[in-house]
């Protein structure tokens, strides 16, 4: 009896483990969120303007051509630094979790997850480059949020369910930002900073803490 029950449990776990990448760490989300918050703070201080009006359509008009180019370049560089740092921290925590679980990081499930994320993300990236090219800077924020949300939604099939809800949240926020373009930096900060921290923390409590305890590591100490 017990043997059969155990077999069923193992089958269920094997089905999930083999088709989904479950080593995604909540701390990856939290670290990406913190990096995004720092990035937003830097932009906020550098452009010396209030949270609500920075990056808006009207505001950029006031910079003049030289100011526009400078602001453009600054935002561009900050975005790249934030992206690379967030990815580096995110990868670090997820690789660490996979090692703790004794799982491979590079397997069929993680390859599928990466591909599912990459297609919408690269599409979004090229789309945003086009926006930059045509100088429609105020649409960058909604576009990054929407494409990122779609990427998460697409990738959520191959990982924990929470990623799907994060995807919906990012899409909703992006659509909202589309019509409230005066609040761009605020939306960006909520989408990439606050939401990452909220979902990352939730995922950490739900999955990582337990697996750390199972491994005999006490995360609170």
């Amino acid at each position: 009896m017990n043997e059969h029950l155990q077999t069923l449990t193992e089958i269920r776990s094997l089905m999930e483990r083999s088709s989904k990448f479950l080593s995604l760490s909540g701390l990856s989300g939290v670290s990406a969120g913190v990096v995004a918050l720092i990035g937003s703070a830097v932009v906020y201080m550098r452009l010396r303007t209030d949270w609500l009006s920075v990056l808006s359509y009207d505001r950029l008009g006031k910079y003049g051509i030289g100011g526009y180019r400078e602001a453009n370049q600054f935002l561009w560089q900050t975005a790249v630094v934030v992206l690379i740092t967030a990815l580096a921290f995110g990868t670090f925590f997820t690789v660490r979790k996979a090692r703790q679980q004794g799982q491979r990081v590079w397997n069929q499930a993680s390859r599928r997850l990466l591909w599912a994320l990459a297609v919408p993300l690269v599409t979004g990236g090229i789309f945003c480059l086009a926006l930059l090219h045509y100088r429609v800077l105020f649409l960058e924020v909604p576009a990054t949020l929407i494409f990122y949300g779609l990427a998460l939604l697409n990738g959520s099939k191959y990982t924990v369910r929470d990623v799907e809800y994060l995807g919906y949240s990012e899409i909703a926020l992006g659509l909202l930002a589309l019509f409230l373009s005066g609040y761009n930096l605020l939306f960006w900060t909520i989408g990439f900073g606050v939401l990452h921290i909220i979902y990352g923390t939730a995922m950490y409590w739900k999955y990582d803490r337990n697996s750390a305890q199972k491994m005999g590591v006490n995360p609170t100490s």
Partner: protein, 98 residues
């Protein structure tokens, strides 16, 4: 009790074979190495179980070359999926009677 056990499939008697089938149920196809990592079996052991499943007509073997390296992937056949589902149902029914 005997009726219930009649639906237990001999091909799935070993846990390794049951595990192989459960992986192939949710993945369209899986490479030999992918299966090896998931199930933590030795090459010889896994190959034997896969051959048994292949002979039963439950698993389809596809050999390809990636560059010069041979790459063997496995797929569950429709018959294999049906047999696996029947076996699981029998297992479930058996547990419920206890």
């Amino acid at each position: 009790m005997k009726d219930l056990l009649a639906h237990f499939n001999k091909a799935f008697e070993s846990k390794a074979r049951l595990s192989i089938m459960s992986v192939l149920m949710v993945n369209e196809s899986m490479s030999f190495n992918g299966l090896k990592d998931l199930l933590a079996l030795t090459d010889g052991n896994l190959a034997t179980h896969l051959r048994a499943l292949e002979e039963a007509g439950y698993v389809l073997v596809m050999k390809q070359f990636v560059g010069r390296k041979p790459n063997t992937t496995y797929q569950a056949t429709d018959a294999g999926k049906a047999a696996f589902t029947d076996h699981l149902n029998a297992l479930e029914a058996f547990i419920k009677t206890l």
